[in-house]
Point group: C2
Chain length 429, copies 2
């Protein structure tokens, strides 16, 4: 039952002198579009951003899609502290290993913490408090959507490589390798399902485990000119690898075919960790109470704010944002006539349409009514296209056609413009 | 359409030796109940907590209630960075002023930041980027629900005084004092509405502005033996003050009546800030483009994780959590018969009831089915009361009453136990 007046939404549109900036900073299309269209704003310093209301709406819709898939896996949602004590990171050897990228601080008593770039230590030491876990409780999957911190040497491309970023991270605990691999496969399927919902084509590639460690790892990449990686695709046997795994290889290790090398952006990462963390921190399971054994762990991350940037890069025009319908901050913009214009008497019809649409379950809180009626329809239509509403509806002179009043419907994803009756409109969107 | 199996919910029940702990740490009822019942867990070190799934569910329900009221005010939701640069806090003088409670850190380039205890500096410098704001855009209200950091010298009472905590903070921007006061009053009303929804009796008291600054301030307190403040209530003229405002006074400054002095916990705080931050950081408004003037600001906070603790303290028994229905992590627990018991054949009826209830819009994702059927009904009923489901439904021998099958309905808030038919059950809850 709620629709929004555009003048009341805080979405400051600005023009930055990108040409002069891009000489010193690596800029992506999503960064330009999200900053100029009031979705995010610099905090002061590269790689740190505030999320403004319209950007946060898109981010939250993305979270809902991801949460849905995690729920289907039976995962529990939690929120771990952003801080972790130095001593816990020392137990796994990562205080030194991840060193340069850790943001560290001391409390008033001199105790040292890091701002977590990832939460393996935190969740494993949490589980160790309740260990040994009984095996009937397994598999245990826990996830969170929280801010993470990584002191990147070279933050760039806006949200794609930031120093503070939203991440969905999940941790799995299993009795043995076999069940851990079953969990691993189930989560990988769920990840494919997420990208399918978003309409983004991804490659799942074999990857290096890096500082996270473990025995097995896959990354999900989308092809992108703003990517920072290259992936190697074998067209013959369909194997896919990160460049890191096969340094200097030009042919597939399986079928010897030359690789196709594609620039790409990593969107998600899955690891089978084995006992690396559970052994160091004492997270155990018991079938036999006398001999608890370390849990078999997995970890699974999606860089949510990076994914948001990737979506904008993937779907948008150079100067106009485009969204998949499921992530668009608002689904529809209704543009009423200009004050004092010939079409002005159609205003009540536009208002009524906005009300009617928002009373549908699908469109509640999804409709924006552009009440800046001192501006021409043309100017507001250009603005609406720039902001990227999937549907823009204009009440113009055709609504006066007595035999068959019609609205102008702009489907921005396809660039179609249709003149539709009221009934057709409700069928179409 | 979704109900949960209790065995799949990660809610570890533990018993801590509170008697020995409470000698060194100040413990509240909510702290004991939330830690022992697997809602939160210590991170390691006082005043830092992880939120486990059941605790996070309650927190999130609380957020929904608060967001609803903020939306009614027309406020936009955003997410500001948790980090703010030293230089910005120096411009308002607070880098030195708040000194001891600030958690500070340096990035790899040596730039200094604080982990924000509050976001006046961040939001004001954000608005200054888009200044001067046109006056037609006012009042502008922006809020967020994020983690905050305060390096308390003496964290205690669990979530009530933590070092990392969830807060709803809102900032308002107005053209002049008169409109700022109108905004101030509207937000104060919204706060009363939130506490009314929760069923918590609060006192709005005149308060000191402290390090936030400004000209006018009110706090919302609930009476609590775990409170850290005292409030002064005049029964004659109904004026209410924090003790801090009227140091050493025993009588009301308005009517000279002796005060009633009550121990209390602060749950929310509202400030009329005036130009303190907008002037220092250049957040301005223009009616006349040639002479922008500083915005009149307000700020409005609710300590959400503290409020969660206050709710548990307010409603719970000594050994059993109680929730208001709107915040309860799950509304209903269905307890089927024990395996192999005489009542065991009633199992399908219990399962069917859980399914039926969860198919109602009100109860989707609100039903827990206690599938630990190796335990007696009595043991699981005690456990359910301890965890504090508002309604517990037991399928026991009365479901076999052919003429009128009945379930046992426990209304935990009132301690009523009713034998109800299927139809009566659906009317009752």
């Amino acid at each position: 039952m709620v629709y929004f007046l555009l003048s009341k939404i805080f979405q400051p549109i600005v023009s930055r002198p990108w040409k002069s900036i891009s000489a010193v900073e690596m800029i992506s299309k999503s960064q330009r579009l999200m900053l100029d269209n009031g979705l995010i704003e610099y905090v002061g310093g590269k790689g740190l951003f505030h999320y403004l209301p319209v950007g946060l709406r898109a981010l939250e819709k993305l979270c809902i899609i991801i949460r849905h898939e995690m729920d289907l896996l039976g995962a529990g949602r939690m929120a771990l502290s952003n801080l972790c004590e130095r001593s816990v990171w020392e137990q796994t050897g990562r205080w030194e290993e991840v060193s340069a990228e850790l943001l560290r601080l001391k409390d008033r008593k001199g105790k040292e913490y890091c701002l977590c770039p990832t939460h393996e230590e935190s969740v494993t030491s949490l589980i160790s408090r309740f260990s040994p876990i009984t095996s009937s409780r397994l598999p245990l999957l826990l996830y969170q959507i929280t801010l993470k911190y990584r002191d990147e040497p070279n933050p760039r491309f806006g949200l794609a490589r930031a120093r503070e970023f939203f991440m969905k991270d999940m941790y799995s605990f299993d009795l043995d390798t076999k069940s851990a691999m079953k969990t691993y496969d189930a989560v990988n399927k769920a990840y494919f399902s997420i990208f399918q919902t978003l309409g983004i084509k991804v490659h799942r590639v074999e990857a290096a485990v890096g500082s996270i460690g473990g025995n097995l790892s896959h990354e999900f990449h989308c092809e992108s000119q703003y990517g920072e990686d290259y992936i190697l695709l074998c067209e013959k046997c369909q194997k896919k690898f990160t460049e890191e795994v096969l340094v200097n290889s030009t042919t597939c290790p399986v079928c010897n075919e030359p690789f196709q090398k594609v620039r790409s952006l990593e969107l998600a990462h899955t690891f089978f960790l084995g006992e690396k963390y559970s052994e160091a921190l004492g997270a155990t399971v018991t079938c036999n109470p006398e001999s608890p054994i370390p849990l078999q762990m997995g970890c699974f991350g999606i860089g949510i704010s990076r994914l948001l940037a990737a979506i904008v890069d993937y779907f948008s025009r150079d100067e106009e944002i485009r969204w998949p319908l499921c992530v668009a901050p608002y689904k529809v913009c209704v543009i009423p006539p200009k004050n004092g214009s010939r079409e002005y008497p159609a205003t009540p019809m536009a208002l009524h349409l906005a009300e009617q649409l928002s009373s549908l379950a699908n469109f509640n809180e999804e409709i924006v009514y552009d009440d800046r009626t001192h501006q021409t329809v043309g100017a507001r239509l250009r603005d609406a296209k720039r902001r990227g509403y999937p549907y823009v509806i204009v009440a113009n002179k055709t609504v006066f056609n007595k035999s068959s009043p019609k609205f102008e419907l702009h489907c921005t994803a396809t660039d179609e413009v249709l003149e539709v009756t009221h009934a057709e409109l409700f069928q179409r969107i």
